[in-house]
Amino acid sequence: MTVPLLNASGCLDALTAPDVARSLDAFVTKTITPLPRDGNPPVRIAETRAGMLNAIGLQGPGVDALVSDVLPRLAALGLHVWVSVGGFSARDFAGICERLDGRDDVEVLELNLSCPNVEEAPESSAEIVAACREATRKPLYAKLSPATWDIAESARAVVAAGADGLSLVNTIRGLALDPATLRPRLARALGGYSGPALKPIALACVWACAAAVEVPIVGMGGVVTGIDALELVAAGASVVSLGTVLFSDPGAPGRIRGELAAEAAARGFRDPADARAVARSNREKAL
């Protein structure tokens, strides 16, 4: 038992960077939609003082090509595969889950209930999870947005609807203007804010959800070092995902795994995962 490291969905393409994917404990696909999507027009990314914005808009080949083309190639790389599932209605989500239900080359389905860059499904997150629960017996992880007043409430609702785990957090909407022209730097103006600036928000969400539900939590948001990862574990995560950091350092999985082990040992843990016990005792003290 230790802390598995994944990539955050949309932050790695195993087909262009197989070695990076293989350095992770499992590979999470970019969110897949029923049909192919071109995504948003460029400019799609902008850096901010302690983070970045993206408005990719779920560019991808659609589920047919995922199944016929991408999954076999991922399997050939020997990867454990999580598929991130997206859509614009509960039916969209459930359809993809059903499609992937029987496949041995997919281990977990992560439901992206929180992409800030596309229109929202009309159904609630819990309704989408319930529809997917009907469609598949695979483990379902609900990926939630930090843009909510009470994330513990959302967590309880999706777990009650059948989610086996939570992925916390997706990006939060942000805007950056070009200081010279005062025009938005992204073509679509608003984008999702990720990176170090998100870390305190992500920690708070993990902390609040770990107190509310018993399911495993994949923590992510601004991890750059092993200490960041250890803090997510101490807040309640069982698994840690790397997003923005992969852009500046494709060697991050190996580096962070080493740092995580060393930092955990320096604090007297036999295993980094043992830091989760700190989470529980801290919560009791703080509440």
Binding site: G10, V20, P42, I56, L246, S248, P250, G251
Partner: protein, 220 residues
């Protein structure tokens, strides 16, 4: 694609630009037109830079200080260290018979290394001012025009195999005039190796990642 922590050998002003020379470490210089992602001190994301020159044991980049990342790179001092990832992307196809290099502004950056690889072919460079044009000295035998004249004005009727890098309007004009030209494009990049889908440009009517499909693309 490799990533190494390399040491700054030195920086030299070249007109308004800075030539940043770093130790090569375990990195290969790659092909002309390929690029590297350079860690920009204090910034979250690295910055894409074409290889400009490959002196023995070194990599050299010509950098235009247009924003916070490039300014931080130009301010590096000898002995400081930074992470460099590369070489990345697809460079120029060197199997050309009658090469003609064309560059505009900071688009001159990949041409010194390209010129050496191709045996110092003819090169046409356009700049905004004489100060900027000091960078032409890096390209052997380059012919220079200054604004308001554009470099496309010098283009011979039968230009041969054009290999070009420069501002978008220049590349767009070349794409019209010289089918088959090899053009090195730019786009904002977060990762440089296909991970973020941030750098897409329209190629053959579809949005493709420039860092994977380019940065050098053929004019259709």
């Amino acid at each position: 694609m490799r990533r190494a922590l390399v040491e700054v050998v030195g920086t030299e002003p070249v007109g308004p630009y800075t030539l940043l020379r770093v130790g090569r470490g375990s990195l290969s210089p790659g092909m002309p037109g390929q690029f590297f992602m350079l860690e920009a001190p204090g910034r979250v994301l690295p910055r894409p830079m074409s290889l400009c020159l490959a002196p023995a044991g070194e990599l050299a980049f010509l950098i235009d200080p247009v924003g916070p990342g490039t300014r931080a790179l130009c301010a590096l001092a000898a002995g400081e260290r930074l992470h460099v990832l590369g070489p990345l992307g697809n460079g120029f196809d060197l199997a050309v018979r009658r090469p003609l290099l064309v560059g505009g502004g900071i688009g001159v950056a990949p041409l010194p290394y390209l010129s050496r690889a191709l045996g110092r072919p003819r090169a046409l460079l356009g700049f905004r001012s004489a100060h900027h044009a000091e960078a032409a000295a890096l390209v052997p035998g380059a012919e220079v025009v200054l604004e308001p004249t554009y470099v496309t004005a010098l283009l011979p009727d039968d230009p041969g195999d054009v290999l070009a890098c420069g501002p978008e309007p220049m590349l767009a004009a070349l794409r019209q005039r010289v089918p088959g030209a090899q053009l090195a494009w730019e786009a904002p990049m977060a990762c440089g190796y296909g991970a973020c889908y941030g750098c897409v440009v329209e190629v053959d009517g579809r949005l493709q990642r420039l860092c994977v499909s380019g940065p050098v693309l053929r004019a259709a």
